[in-house]
């Protein structure tokens, strides 16, 4: 019995017990359902063992949407607690846990997989490749991310959630002040997911650098691929910093070291520095692919080529460099002195320049374009003004002297939500509508889509604009309540309304998926948007080999040119195609990593050692396995192409 006590929740509440029951019921329902409909074999063959970038992309996106709802539930609880002064819905400890899991889930387990999901689905198609460079590693990346996400998500029912904020500053995150295993979950779950992300970075860099279709030089790559390239460079250079920081945090908490303690020579500010050396590049890992999506959507629906291609690329390169030299702006108030603050103030504000260049390029693409207002385009149009609000307030925060007023208030919370929601979330929703037909062979309803977009955009404004005001008035962030006399009540009540609008908007998207699945026509062809880039040049549904023959590229929009001028995109004859085999190893490693992390969280050393050996055994097996992949014969390809409406 004593053994099991460690799994108890230190600070329970009826809602947590209810969640336990709900989780158990849903898990049982899934198992029963799969057994009843005899879907285990299908699931294993087609999804769990797949190494196909398209399927992995879809799995990332599904996971991201699930996490969006988990993070969204946290958000609604927080807004509900704050909607009135001296509210008693949540106590301080629960509020701490909820804002921590909300932040981590939204940034690392919602936004990241959403972006990586679209990178998976789109990039190989856009560059005319058959898959990524290392398909099996790609599957491993997904399963590591998924293992990390699941491990983090069970914290609130097994052992207790982390409660030191998504930034997990020391000494608060040390054993002395964070006594439950929650912060162990933080350190280890993010570590596991981070390893997967690092592998993704290496994989996609290699893919984009080496596997482009003949004739596609770097400066003929579509803009989304460019953004993916730069993002992956940032991933490769930023994530190892997080790896080290988390490892040191883990050592501090579980092995009694004093890296970040305030005794025995430790230095708590080292954590803050390492965290943000990764953390600020991380926000650009999120936003650059989103910019890439907007570039694709805007040029498709303005029916003209992207204005300022070269300056788009240059601005992304500059942003990626600057993103590594601004991290101190997250703690101007923590005592590094005026000189250091001024330097980081200047670098921070400098980022607004290349960002502004991009905004103007989009505006100039629209100018003289023939705008077609579809749902993805509507999201892009709403993005520009809303994101600008977030960016301009970012520059305000970047002025170190002024930041003493804004720091750690709701003003900051409003800033980063106004950049992340219009910037990243709108982009992901635009991409979801835009690529949906390519993924599933039918379109999402445009009318419902547009209503949803307006509700979400207005909801964002209603939820976050009041925070600028209450923040300037001094409402602190991460405080579970405030007094009546402060006068913050009204602003928080308005915020609550906005949060409910956002929830309604997301619910409408889910309904739209259901509605369109039932009613949308299926004969939409392979290029329903009349788009410009290669991913639309192949069939829908996309055959597993993507392109029967390699496209020949001579301009930045060869597919568009082939449609307008009738040039041939696929001049070659069909040859047999080499494809990688499916493999169960990545999935199995994901499970072992989950158990490994779980054992680590609870300091159960024997299972930890067993799992470690298991991981090495999988790697050795992988090394010795003689799997040369397989070939798809010419007849088989011709057969498939005929079924899909003839070879391109």
């Amino acid at each position: 019995m004593e053994f099991f006590e460690r799994f108890a929740i230190p600070h329970p509440s009826p809602a947590i017990y209810a969640s336990m029951v709900a989780i158990a019921v849903v898990s049982i329902a899934i198992v029963v359902g799969l057994t009843y409909f005899k879907k285990w074999g299908y699931l294993w063959r087609e999804w769990l063992t797949t190494v196909d970038h398209k399927r992995l992309g879809i799995m990332y996106i599904i996971a991201a949407i699930l996490m969006l709802f988990r993070g969204g539930a946290d958000a609604i609880m927080m807004r509900a607690q704050l909607s009135a002064p001296e509210n008693k819905l949540l106590d301080a400890q629960h509020y701490n846990e909820i804002f921590t899991t909300h932040g981590v889930v939204m940034i690392l387990f919602m936004a990241m997989p959403f972006i990586i999901g679209f990178m998976n689905f789109v990039v190989p198609l856009q560059i005319g490749a058959r898959d990524v460079a290392f398909p099996r590693l790609n599957a491993l990346s997904f399963w590591l991310f998924f293992a990390g996400a699941m491990l983090f998500n069970i914290s609130f029912v097994v052992g207790g959630s982390p409660d030191a904020g998504w930034t997990s500053y020391f000494p608060l995150a040390d054993n002395e002040f964070s006594t439950s295993v929650g912060t162990n979950y933080y350190m280890i779950a993010i570590q596991i997911a981070g390893l997967g992300t690092l592998a993704t970075g290496i994989n996609f860099l290699t893919t984009i650098l080496k596997m482009r279709a003949p004739g596609m030089t770097l400066m003929k790559m579509p803009m989304f691929t460019w953004s993916a390239l730069i993002t992956n460079v940032i991933i490769v250079f930023a994530f190892p910093v997080l790896t080290v920081a988390l490892a040191m945090g883990t050592l501090d908490r579980l092995f009694g070291t004093h890296f970040f303690a305030s005794t025995n020579g430790g230095m708590d500010m080292l954590w803050a520095n390492l965290f943000w050396v990764w953390g600020h590049p991380e926000v650009y890992i999120l936003i650059l692919p989103a910019f890439g999506i907007y570039s694709e959507v805007i040029s498709t629906f303005a029916r003209r080529n992207l204005y300022g291609y070269k300056s788009m690329v240059a601005s992304m390169v500059i942003i990626s460099l600057l993103s590594f030299v601004v991290w101190v702006h997250h703690f101007f108030t923590m005592g590094q002195g005026a000189f250091v603050n001024s330097i980081f103030s200047i670098t921070t504000m400098a980022i607004a320049v290349p960002t502004g260049v991009k905004i103007f390029n989009w505006l100039l693409t629209l100018y003289k374009g023939k705008i077609v207002m579809t749902t993805p385009m509507l999201y892009s149009m709403l993005f520009i003004p809303l994101f600008t609000l977030g960016g301009v307030t970012g520059v305000m925060l970047g002025m170190s002297a002024a930041d003493y007023q804004y720091h750690n208030t709701m003003f900051l919370v409003a800033h980063f939500h106004m950049v992340i929601i219009p910037g990243v979330v709108f982009a992901m929703l635009a991409a979801l509508y835009y690529y949906w037909p390519k993924m599933f062979g039918f379109m999402l309803n445009d009318r419902l889509g547009k209503i949803g977009a307006w509700i979400i955009a207005i909801g964002t404004l209603v939820a976050f604009m009041p925070m600028f005001i209450s923040g300037l008035d001094g409402q602190a962030r991460r405080m579970y309540t405030y007094s009546e006399a402060s006068g913050f009540g009204i602003w928080n009540m308005i915020s609550m309304v906005g949060a409910l609008m956002l929830a309604a908007g997301f619910a409408l998207i889910v309904y739209n998926i259901y509605y369109s699945f039932r009613h949308a026509p299926r004969d939409i062809g392979s290029d329903p948007w009349d788009a410009r880039t290669l991913e639309w040049a192949t069939h829908t549904p996309i055959p597993e080999y993507n392109f029967a023959t390699m496209p020949k590229i001579d301009t930045y929009e060869t597919f568009w040119d082939s449609k307008k001028k009738g040039t041939t995109l696929f001049p070659d004859k069909i040859e047999k195609i080499h494809m990688p085999n499916n493999s169960g190893i990545p999935f199995i490693m994901g499970i072992i990593f989950f158990l490994w992390g779980f054992s680590f969280v609870f300091a159960m050393w024997i299972p930890l050692i067993i799992c470690t050996l298991g991981i090495f055994a999988c790697m050795a097996y992988q090394s010795f396995e003689n799997d040369h992949g397989r070939y798809i014969s010419i007849e088989e390809i011709e057969e498939t192409e005929k079924e899909l409406g003839g070879k391109r």
Binding site: A133, L205, L251, T257, H258, G265, G266, L270, L274, F616
Partner: protein, 198 residues
Amino acid sequence: MKIDHSLPLEYSTDENRLKILGFWIFLGAEVMLFATLFASYFILSGGTGDGPSGAEIFEITPVLIETLVLLTSSFTIGLMVHAMRLGRQKAMMGFFIATIVLGAIFLGVEIYEFVHYVHVGAGLQTSAFSAILLTTLGTHGAHVTFGLFWGICILIQVKKYGLTPRTTNKSFIFSLYWHFLDVVWIFIFSFVYLKGMM
């Protein structure tokens, strides 16, 4: 699989070239990993608390042995690649084995060194300095340990299949890894030990 005979075996297929580039990128990430550790080391190296400082615990003899052994192993792995390109499997395996043996000696001395540190009162929990010292050295040592097992796996495959595009590719990538660990060690030698002893 198309084999390009104008290139050395390890570069001869598309897949091989992808793997080599991918590994270089991985080494880029490793550079960041060790750079972060070094940065943390410099920041915490004064944080000795009640524990000893570097100058009080570093011993020159084991460090010199480690350095010598590891540099030699980098030389033998270079010879391994050379023999591989000449198609001389026996010699190639000989140099490979020599590298692994030298790596094992390095590791043995490093373990002695760790025991020594704990003995003189610089354990993981003593101070921030001792912790970052052991973590930095330990990360490098863990890489070497992993390399030993990895190298043995590759060696077995070379024995089994001969010098094929696959096995040469793996061996070549291993040599990149091993040279990288040597470079990291040179940084450790200069900036941890020499600087610490001065």
